[in-house]
Symmetry: C2
Subunit: 210 residues, 2 copies
């Protein structure tokens, strides 16, 4: 069986990967299960051999990836780093995730985290963990005095996460340029914008001049 798993293509995985492409292209509601099966090169019925329903496919994709992000946030928070650098790492992780697999991130954001009436409500607990993780980083910064005490940490976390998600939305809608350099630059810019602020002042990093 171990040998079989090595030789045979993992059909379950193929279905999940195909679902990412189909959901990203057509949206969860505008595609049929047969589209996913066709994209995976697999018979219709096999989808139901591995998954109980169309929704379970999306739930699986979301939970799989979201847990990785939650782990990353927790790991970043545990490092010995200035708070700004922690937030920069979180932003970097999310942007890297998009750069590495834009279809998957599109599906997760569009079909789950922003879908208040369907999957968003189902996974609210998990989604909230990410906000809480970011808020914890901000809270530590407030306590040590590097961040303003007047802005509640959970409020700041929403602003920070919202800004990042909006950047991904800009890329998804092709409203923002999408070269590797743009992704890389965005990591610094979003942290500079949210931590340092848009206004001229003294809090910005002495980064490259351009």
């Amino acid at each position: 069986m171990a040998a079989a798993a090595k030789n045979a293509p993992d059909k379950r995985r193929m279905i999940l990967d195909a679902a990412v492409r189909v959901f990203a292209r057509q949206g969860f509601h505008h595609c049929r299960v047969s589209d996913v099966a066709d994209e995976a090169g697999v018979a219709y019925g096999l989808v139901y051999h591995y998954f109980d329903s169309k929704e379970e496919i999306l739930n699986t994709l979301f939970l799989e990836r979201w847990q990785i992000m939650l782990d990353a946030i927790g790991e970043i928070d545990a490092r010995e780093l200035p708070s700004r650098d922690k937030l920069r790492s979180v932003a970097g992780f999310i942007i890297d995730s998009y750069q590495h697999d834009p279809d998957l991130m599109k599906v997760i954001i569009v079909e789950v985290t922003r879908a208040a009436n369907s999957f968003g409500a189902v996974h609210l607990k998990e989604i909230r963990k990410a906000y809480d993780g970011i808020a914890a980083i901000v809270e530590a910064a407030r306590e040590e005095g590097s961040f303003k005490s007047g802005i509640p940490s959970e409020f700041a976390a929403m602003c920070f996460y919202g800004a990042i998600e909006q950047l991904l939305t800009g890329w998804i809608f092709e409203l923002l340029p999408r070269t590797d350099a743009d992704y890389e630059r965005a990591k610094d810019l979003v942290v500079e914008a949210i931590c340092g602020g848009l206004e001229n002042g003294v809090t910005s990093r002495p980064a490259a001049s351009g």
Copy 2:
């Protein structure tokens, strides 16, 4: 006919208002046209007397309200005000809109501006105008030197708008407190967070010490 319009309830308006409540409660995809008709206290067929399709109802709701917001942004930008105060006015307008009619704003955000695979793509041009309007405010601030030149204005606009929309999302999901005082406070906080930044520095307003 003028008298008729005065006496008779405007059924078309009743259908639109009912649609807002139904779409907000169940989501566009998870409700039936008959739900809207029932909520409006109107026969099923009358919905199709006033609208060509279920989608047209949502399009109408979105365009009606979005145009008001675009007008508001344009009007705010034309005022003689410091850039930060302009952004504060934009944030205030959007938050007031949510406070005044949370169902409508929920529908617009969840079903349109964040629905990349359906209505979001259809109305991308209109959605973009809002980003551009905010970017224009930021751009003027950069030129006069009050905002950092290192952060592109369209990038800053996405961060600012994203932060606001995420706040609304927090209220929609009931993750953030929703008293009148919270809404009022959020207007200042979001501007302080994005313009002044989360870090301690010299750019924050000398506001009340709360």
